[in-house]
């Protein structure tokens, strides 16, 4: 048995400390140092977790699609790609959920309602459901390679939803405001420390995502290894019988 405990390494522990410090700094900048908005007041402070959360979800699903494409296209189909795709997809679902909940609370204060069936919210809900389906498909059973093949195909189909969600506010009339930063045509206006706090949030959440993926794909690797043990034991038993 291993003498090492857990999925951490010196590098992930160092990264974890940096992430923790950045998240503490984000809390100070987002909740204390940055100014209130002239229209929304302190409600604007929800933006510093809501926007980074959906950014990480986009990033996570993008990584899922890239790893799935590599798995499907490679001659040596390493399951490591599939495990990173699965880990990233799971973390993406968590961040979409965070984005939906915080967005709903923000919407109640600014729009006057928790939910509307406009283009942005409806397409985001569809994105959330699609990736819950992706995670369920990964757990349907079969061999690791069967899991990797079917989930990779689904990941490549699902990724087309990201531009649909992001540009929904430009393509259709929506209650949700258009992008403040991630739009080449937008006139960026985030006064004072607002823009800095937003970018701090984006950076901190991105590093948190990297840390989570590193750990999660290692636990998936252990789960796969344990599932393989039964199969390995059967093959070893057959070999022993053949030798006798």
């Amino acid at each position: 048995m291993s003498t090492h405990s857990g999925t951490g390494t010196k590098a992930t522990r160092g990264l974890g400390i940096i992430v923790l410090l950045m998240l503490i700094a984000l809390a100070f900048f987002g909740l204390v140092f940055s100014a209130e908005d002239v229209v929304q007041g302190s409600t604007v402070r929800i933006m510093y977790v809501h926007v980074p959360a959906i950014w990480v979800a986009y990033l996570a699903f993008g990584l899922t699609a890239v790893c799935s494409a590599v798995y499907l296209s490679g001659k040596n189909r390493s399951l490591a790609w599939d495990r990173v795709a699965g880990a990233s997809g799971e973390i993406g679902v968590l961040f979409v959920a965070v984005s939906l909940v915080t967005g709903s609370l923000w919407g109640r204060l600014t729009w006057g309602t928790y939910w509307v069936w406009d283009a942005r919210l409806t397409s985001t809900a569809f994105l959330f459901i699609t990736y819950i389906g992706y995670l369920a498909v990964r757990r349907l059973g079969g061999t690791h390679r069967q899991r990797a093949r079917r989930s990779s195909v689904l990941a490549l189909l699902a990724i087309v939803e990201i531009p649909l969600v992001h540009f929904s506010v430009n393509m259709w009339r929506s209650l949700h405001q258009s992008a403040s930063v991630a739009d080449p045509n937008a006139k960026v206006q985030l006064d004072g420390l607002m823009l800095f706090s937003l970018f701090l949030g984006l950076f901190a959440f991105t590093l948190l995502f990297v840390w989570l993926v590193l750990h999660r794909q290692r636990t998936l690797q252990l789960e796969d290894a344990f599932a393989d043990r039964g199969l390995d034991a059967a093959i070893a038993a057959r070999r022993e019988e053949a030798v006798k």
Partner: protein, 162 residues
């Protein structure tokens, strides 16, 4: 080595079977059902969430006698609150539409801000039962030391009008 399939089940060392799991199957089915509901909502509600004030009565889907959502900017100095009801004028592209709402609009409702009102036109007045505030994508900091209330309102107007 003999690799033919075994017939004597007792001699088999059972590998970890990867059986069909029903929990994920149920989740996949639920995802398909809810996905269908969301797509239906998208096609019936999300595309063109509202009509603009200048399209009421002139654009398909914005006929005056049907229930609809109308978007416009709350005209400055037009908001009046009497007996718990709120009336104001919405403007867009030079057209105006008087709105009557039986309540106090929520959110950050104020003059000069774009809103979406749900309801129907009755005697040239838009009788609304729901108001949603459409916030801009620009954020202006409130500076308590330099801006008095009037200036804040003016700043809000300039942000909303963009």
């Amino acid at each position: 080595m003999d690799l033919t399939p075994r017939t004597n089940s007792e001699a088999i060392v059972e590998p970890a079977k990867r059986k069909r799991r029903w929990g994920p199957v149920v989740i996949v089915v639920l995802a398909l059902v809810f996905g269908g509901v969301v797509v239906t909502k998208f096609l019936t509600s999300a595309i063109d969430y509202y009509c603009n004030v200048d399209e009421v009565g002139s654009r398909t889907g914005c006929e005056g006698d049907r229930r609809m959502r109308v978007q416009g900017i709350v005209e400055q100095h037009s908001v009046k609150q009497v007996d718990g009801a709120t009336s104001f004028v919405m403007t867009f592209n030079g057209e105006k539409l008087p709105v009557h709402y039986a309540g106090d609009p929520g959110g950050v409702f104020q003059e000069c801000i774009p809103v979406v009102a749900h309801g129907r036109v009755v005697n040239d007045v838009f009788e609304s039962d729901r108001i949603e505030v459409k916030h801009s994508n620009q954020y202006v900091q409130k500076n308590k030391t330099r801006l008095d209330k009037a200036n804040e309102e003016a700043a809000a107007c300039s942000v909303s009008a963009d």
